[in-house]
Symmetry: D3
Subunit: 298 residues, 6 copies
Amino acid sequence: MADDLDQRVLAQAIDDIVASYALHGNINHLDGANLPSRALVSGLLDDLLSIVFPGYFVEDEVDALTCRYFVGERCVRVLRRLEVVAGRAFTSSGAEAAANEARARQLALDVVREIPRLREILDTDVQAALGGDPAAASASEIIMSYPGIEAIAVHRIAHALHGWGVPLIPRMMTEIVHRQTGIDIHPGATIGHSFFIDHGTGVVVGETTVIGDRVKIYQGVTLGALSVSGRTGRSRLKRHPTIEDDVTIYAGATILGGDTVIGAGSIVGGNVWLTHSVPPGTTVMLDKPSLRFIAPGG
Amino acid sequence: MADDLDQRVLAQAIDDIVASYALHGNINHLDGANLPSRALVSGLLDDLLSIVFPGYFVEDEVDALTCRYFVGERCVRVLRRLEVVAGRAFTSSGAEAAANEARARQLALDVVREIPRLREILDTDVQAALGGDPAAASASEIIMSYPGIEAIAVHRIAHALHGWGVPLIPRMMTEIVHRQTGIDIHPGATIGHSFFIDHGTGVVVGETTVIGDRVKIYQGVTLGALSVSGRTGRSRLKRHPTIEDDVTIYAGATILGGDTVIGAGSIVGGNVWLTHSVPPGTTVMLDKPSLRFIAPGG
Amino acid sequence: MADDLDQRVLAQAIDDIVASYALHGNINHLDGANLPSRALVSGLLDDLLSIVFPGYFVEDEVDALTCRYFVGERCVRVLRRLEVVAGRAFTSSGAEAAANEARARQLALDVVREIPRLREILDTDVQAALGGDPAAASASEIIMSYPGIEAIAVHRIAHALHGWGVPLIPRMMTEIVHRQTGIDIHPGATIGHSFFIDHGTGVVVGETTVIGDRVKIYQGVTLGALSVSGRTGRSRLKRHPTIEDDVTIYAGATILGGDTVIGAGSIVGGNVWLTHSVPPGTTVMLDKPSLRFIAPGG
Amino acid sequence: MADDLDQRVLAQAIDDIVASYALHGNINHLDGANLPSRALVSGLLDDLLSIVFPGYFVEDEVDALTCRYFVGERCVRVLRRLEVVAGRAFTSSGAEAAANEARARQLALDVVREIPRLREILDTDVQAALGGDPAAASASEIIMSYPGIEAIAVHRIAHALHGWGVPLIPRMMTEIVHRQTGIDIHPGATIGHSFFIDHGTGVVVGETTVIGDRVKIYQGVTLGALSVSGRTGRSRLKRHPTIEDDVTIYAGATILGGDTVIGAGSIVGGNVWLTHSVPPGTTVMLDKPSLRFIAPGG
Amino acid sequence: MADDLDQRVLAQAIDDIVASYALHGNINHLDGANLPSRALVSGLLDDLLSIVFPGYFVEDEVDALTCRYFVGERCVRVLRRLEVVAGRAFTSSGAEAAANEARARQLALDVVREIPRLREILDTDVQAALGGDPAAASASEIIMSYPGIEAIAVHRIAHALHGWGVPLIPRMMTEIVHRQTGIDIHPGATIGHSFFIDHGTGVVVGETTVIGDRVKIYQGVTLGALSVSGRTGRSRLKRHPTIEDDVTIYAGATILGGDTVIGAGSIVGGNVWLTHSVPPGTTVMLDKPSLRFIAPGG
Amino acid sequence: MADDLDQRVLAQAIDDIVASYALHGNINHLDGANLPSRALVSGLLDDLLSIVFPGYFVEDEVDALTCRYFVGERCVRVLRRLEVVAGRAFTSSGAEAAANEARARQLALDVVREIPRLREILDTDVQAALGGDPAAASASEIIMSYPGIEAIAVHRIAHALHGWGVPLIPRMMTEIVHRQTGIDIHPGATIGHSFFIDHGTGVVVGETTVIGDRVKIYQGVTLGALSVSGRTGRSRLKRHPTIEDDVTIYAGATILGGDTVIGAGSIVGGNVWLTHSVPPGTTVMLDKPSLRFIAPGG
């Protein structure tokens, strides 16, 4: 008896769930065409990183004899995966299916051709980390245990895709590395060379941020927008700040607004909250720690 | 010789470890009954999310022909896994074994029946994200790359289990999503519809927090308890704040205390530290950025 | 035609990547000897944690009959893996290959012998969590769902390896748990017993930090260095603060500098920014929340 | 020097292999479209067998509450996989791509609809095994440990596909089970109900064989063709024997030729070699074991 | 339209399958209790073989330091798995559930205790292979590439379980190795020491066969029953032959019948068909190859 | 109590097993150096076959754009794996460790260079199958579903290794394919081009067999040695027959002896037993089926 009841209850529950797919259709994806899944995009990132930093993340001795073949095969994997995920992304964003295949293949080749340039700039990022952290012992240690390097590498890949107009994938890539590192950089942000993020948890860099060369930021830094009232279509205005060359921003500082420019060579102290520009060479600090001390007997 | 020595050293070390299991027994679990493992609870969450957002996280074309069967099978998997983990959780918390099986099965059916209601409220959460972030391009982008949506979805599941008195599992669920997203919401917290968390890293929402409808919070927000002196049993007093409808809380703000009520429609600025209530419609901001500027030549 | 073009484009791209390996050789690792990979180090940590907290993270009933054999086999796995990764780490840091094998085996035995002592101190950490959080229901809940416990356990392992002069591995271990928990403790930091981290996301503890017994810290706390100007070799000066026994540091507080000592029994309030010492028993708080309130009609 | 030499040798070897793909093109498949792989066809067979004999080969409690959903989901998996492999098979055999998709889907539905009929006839095969082997203890033992049952089940599936004109897949299916059991039945063979194969290793049943009801054969039996001289196109003549109802054929017997008919109720003894028909009810045996006995002192 | 039709067709097909589960219930297993699956039994065999021949089938350096722990852990795995599969087997064969748990644990301990005796006799089997095949180069080559050794090892394990009255499992074990090697030995057969099977494909050894010491057989040998007319309950009569010590049986020979005894030291030639006894020391050969030779011009 | 008893029983059993490792040391491999495992050799074979028949066994579209990179990477995998397994094999057979590394690398390069020649001869084997079996529909069907092709391909690889003096590995390779196909060809056998094995189960080809071009054999054929009396060291005499060009041997035929030569163009009928030579062009058949027919009423 109880079993019959359970069967009816379960059948009803399943009917209700299927009915809810009709009722709340915008949080389903039931048209039979796969979206680019997180697992697929994640595997693609792993392959790209293994080409960019060969020998670091693969359990396979790579040497002069073999590296050419390792690279060739990884590039082909990247090509194949990119064709798939980019094709799905174009389709899911409403692009006409006929042109998508050729577009996805062209894009895939472009990404592979971009890798030497990516390596050139990532080399400057690793140098910046080595120069900027007294605790860093070697380039190997930085590549293998600094979350900032991984976040920047993924950003630079995602930023290229974003620039080529690929939907969905760039945001999925940066969110994947956000989950790993706590560093959330929008693919739209423009970042110069020799960029260093230390520790990194809680860093947020908004879509229209512009960052110069040799900039250094610490955990908990937000480069964000001022509050938005109302939403009228998807805004592409510059809503996030500009950080000029050679700026250092310490932990927990918040810099907001599309017109805010931090002049070259400035230093922004920890926990500072800035919503307006400062000229080059400025040091900004919390005035005095406005604290109350209570002695043991107080 | 050396080998013999190594053998004796290793044998002694293993004896010492086994001895330490007797000595520090409260950090072992050696009674031969498995606890609900993180892997099992994590797989259960994956299954639940794949029913709640079908077509988004599964590498399997789901369409009108197949979705009923997809749902049916996933519900059965959820039933089976929940019976196992809930049974273990009841047992581990000392409940009488005899009643646990029936209780776990009833619970499992209840969870499946809850899914349509979960989808109804999660639809409002996705709408809130779409309306609240100018950078969001589509519902797909939000579901696949906004950590806040995942954290809220898991919270709503865990909160239901918590309400039904299930031990251990709800906290394991929220900790699993905390590890993924940096968003730490206690299953006990009560949260209204259309809830939006942007970026999210570092968000902490305490056990007895109450949050109204259409609330929006940013990364680094803490809704916490005032400091506790002494511990006298497990307190169930309201120790965390109440956030009324339509409140927005910007990044890094901290609101503490069980009697603290943020009135409906209020705005709490970034980095604000609040330990008392404010009436509806209040805007609270850091008074003036209390900063010191040092010019280059300064 | 198009295909021929694609073949030439791809072949050129691969040549360019291989050329870039010569050009930017410091971000390659192509000498044919594997580095200790993240996957290997991560598996090693999993094995160590399963010995330290038996029965909690393994899907395998462990009981009085079987625990001795479970421990024996895991210790052997730990030995074998440690020999591999430590051997690679010694080699990668330029140590003479001949001595590395014996050194790695001795080290591996030392780690296994250290486990009872690790368990002894971790028992105090679990007790501290149970005593310090009113929301904690049991030791099981703490071990299975408090990220702080995992971060501390890994730190204590990594700190021992760091003390024995093992390169690379300790930092990889702490970064692995940083990715999981958002808690970033340098292996060099010295930490007393009964240490409790609540929530934890965004915590940073620097290399030369010294922490006493029964210290409690919350999410977003930074124990860091004052800014460094210039880099002259790898500094081993004490650059991070000293926290004496029985100190509590609330969320978001920042304490900087190698000469900064927080005296025993002190309390540091949330968001406080401290760059100098305070005597034992001091309570430090933000003076008054320097806020501006705008009423609805304001 | 040696390394440079190795590099040149390896590069040359790879060039030679690629050149050999042009030279011996009929043993490559390099047109960029996947063939139905053995792994895919094997997974499809596993799914089909788990629907046909539910509860026997799956590590998942199936009961009255859940079996409907188990079946639904497996049928959908079968549909999806069959669409893929049949589509590839049609394409690889030169069929026009446009029609293949619809044809593959129709075929997939037909296979699912065939399952009840397959179960009906397989029930008779299991009964025949239970009745025919004194060592058989139960239907469970037969389904789980008699290779003949698996070979017959796969044959009956492959025979249906073969009848519907599907290229490649049926032969791949029977070869998969041949590798497992040593029983090689061509998908073209027609086999009645209550068929029993004992032990089975070395059994060969040719393409145009016709077998009646309640036939029993043992290991090493060949039902084959007489030798073929010359090959003029692919012959579809009846080249293999006809075995009427209720015939038993003992181990190692060989029966050859398309005109050979073994009359109903006949018994063919072990190792017998037959190339002509026998009337119903005949018993055929090796006349007398034509042996030479040499005594110890001989 | 077509899609609606497909949905109805699929729903009907699934209903028909579920209906067929009621109609042909003896080839389902839907009572919600798992049977001992082939995968589980296969894993158990792998574990047992890795204890019996340590260092041969495991990718893990085993040496004097570690072998004790390797063995301990494997024995525990064997214990746990055996408790599960034996428990399921007892239950599936109708035994009273209450006693099964204790019985399964006792059995599991007995199996582990049996291993030294198994190794003692398997050592003689390896010696027999080394002595009997001029192509064999070493004990390693025999253990790693002679299917006969694997078949005998599994038989000796299965025979012990069969002797202790375990249902289902022994037959599943021998069928697993039959699929691998083409050698089909019923667990009931009694086999002496120093047994050697060369090549082995097609060997069949029946349930009540008795084989003495130092017996050698080749591929395709059948030790079987004479034909059975009718089935009256499960026969336990001796239906298969007795092979005394020091007998050699060449490829393809067939020896049938429960009263047939091949006297000690006899040699049975290839393809011989024997249904009666021969005295000790007899050599039995096909009298003269009764062949017809046709010369080229014939 | 019972538990204590079980603990003692288990501990004793494990002690006994470890003691048996000392007692029967020739069936252990406990010197801490891994042997070439079956899994490793099997993976190596899979890689080799995927280069030899590209596009047939890999789930990865291979085309003109990508095949060069696919081949390059697979060759590198083959190199790396061969260096490992050949190195272990040399060591296990007592070769001096110092020279083994260079020897293994040279061997690995030789194998890769051999592939074009292997493909050339395997092309003739596929043609022979296509020409020899009226049931064969295409080269694809033959490569994907004829066990004979796989057995021959593996033999040709193993034979090359055997010729270069590699111990252990060649036998492991042919045993792996024996388990899959029931075809057991010793790596020492010499086989000409256009070799075709149909069905194949039970085929045995001995170590010193020599087979000419365009030979065709069926299931159950044995090319073996006459019985050996006594064993005096490892014999390398020619113990198995010579089959000249264009011979066909039907199912179940047995040809024995090192001096036996089957002249070119001969046909050996099914089940024939031959221990002496026949001149070219001979047809050998069983004289007359020496059968007894018993009519129904007989």
